[in-house]
Amino acid sequence: MKESQEEKAALSKDKLFELPGFPDKEELESGPVAVIECPEEIACNVCEAACPFGAIEIGKEIIKVPKIDPDKCVGCGQCVSECPGLAVYVVDLNYTDEEALLTIPYEFSPLPKKGEIVTGVTRKGEKASRVKIVSVDKKENGTPIIKIAVPKSEIHEIRGILIEEIND
Amino acid sequence: MESVKDSSSEPDEEGSEKIVCRCEEVTEGEIRESIRTYKLDTVAEVKRATRAGMGLCQGRSCEISIKRILSEETRRDISEISADSVRPPTIPVETGVIADVIRGGGGNEED
């Protein structure tokens, strides 16, 4: 991909941290919390409506960019499953010493199995470290959500998975 | 994917290879030539002079291309190139269906 449109298709980390849907470092460290990577003013308020805890705020003007209230967010992942843009994740930095737990939406079949080792991929679709499937939740009325254990160093890089056969 | 070096090997500046109307197989080159020869400035004229847009698809896909070419050749904004007039049928429809209107199938009454 060319440098010039990277921002338009895969946000840089710096830009992400500026989003109102992206909790700050302290908030990220205090427990599982949703990160909303929805940078543009799109007329949509599905995440706000989906949150049972009122942790996401858009307001009457549904064009506004969603804002997360980390104090109210418990990291349940409901918004991850319902966001039409597949743009919400839950980050739990305190999963293990080395790994963080990442909740991602996943609309491909077959779904991976719990315990399976798959390849993590970045926002740009590039391959990252191998990651472990911790849980698979086939939602009734939404997008299946998957929890994966990710090296802490890559928690802000990895946003998807690739199921590929690797003899390792 | 591979890079290929053939920048000037394809002499298609005038669109001699580029088909615009697939139904009637009219190229961009032929359309440009007609526009220049006869000083055409409307879609309807291009149709008459080249048959572009006269095919089964009724100009569905090529009308926009003809407009674009007209706009380039006549140096006018595309908004100034008026659409061709519309006449029935707006979709291809069997002769029998059109005839049905007077056969009484359409619940048609005599005027």
Partner: protein, 387 residues
Amino acid sequence: MKKTEVLIVGGGIIGSSIAYYLSKHGVEVTVVEKGKLLGGASGANQGGIPVSLFEPPLLDLVRESRKLYDGLSQELGEDLGFDETGLLLIVLDKDQESLLNQFGKRLEQRGLGAESLSSNELQAESLLADNVKAAVKTSADASVDPFKVGFGLISQAKANGATFLKDTEVKDVIMSGRKVTQVKTTRETLQLNYLVNAAGARSKSIGDMVGLDIPVKPRRGQILVTEPTPRAKYRYLMDFDYIATALGNGDKEEKSRRMKLGVASSLIQEPSSNWTIGASRDFAGFNKKTTRETLGYLADRATKFLPDFENCNIIRSYAGLRPYCHVDGKPILGRIEELDNFFIATGHAGEGITLAPITGKLLAREIVSGRKAKLLDSFRYSRFESE
């Protein structure tokens, strides 16, 4: 002010043909067209060149025109889609069978080839409906691609130095005695030595400007176009009813709705292999819309002859406004006596394509030589004055 030797009003097939033949004589000519070139009836017809349908003296003119078509593709350096297919005249009605045979005999007497198809031949022709009772195959008739003819004439005329001004409407003329000296258009005023009124269905309004009452009004003809089909053996078919409706000499005054709308089949397979389905005749002013009823009758009638049309797609319809002389239905051609430099070429009704070459040739000759062409004598404007 721009000057031109001959100014032709009307950029249809007639005006373009006159321009071509004049330019061939080296005459400097300018064509002014209110709309787009070939945008009127010249672009909304079937391209038929029927010969067999006419009576003298029109027949003489038609035959001469048909002869000119023989060499026209070569002359214009353009494939005009000239198809010397002949005409298949067909009847559905048993009553018309003997009339058709008489008609065929008359053609032979005139030296126009015609032969009746035997019932075996009829049955062998799979395209034709079983209920076609009889058919006569003629040989003089042909068809062309009318756009190719039109644009061919225009491009050669241009190559010979003619000027075509479209989107240019004549608003008024300036006279000096019996002479038209200038024409005011929506764009500019032009000075001229000769004026030709080839404005088709609108030629009356040009006549009005010089005080001539030209008895021409628009007659609407509607046409359907099918998708392309395999090349047929008989590519020009005509409903014998056409002769009644087209020539107005049908004594069988059928008062059906179809006949009132002037619908009788004229079916031509174009060089592109699409069929055009005509013909209709009605008077609706300058309204060029196609109408539900006429299209319905055109479609229905066509399927009676060619049943395969039933499931063949129609992709287009259009209507043309034919310049129709409401006194006698005949063309009005040649120099006008009342004025010094005014020529007329209109009233071709449905036969503009048929008569374009001869009209162009003879009008050009009259303008250039100052002598009257004998072939035009029956079609002069003066015929209305004696009444």
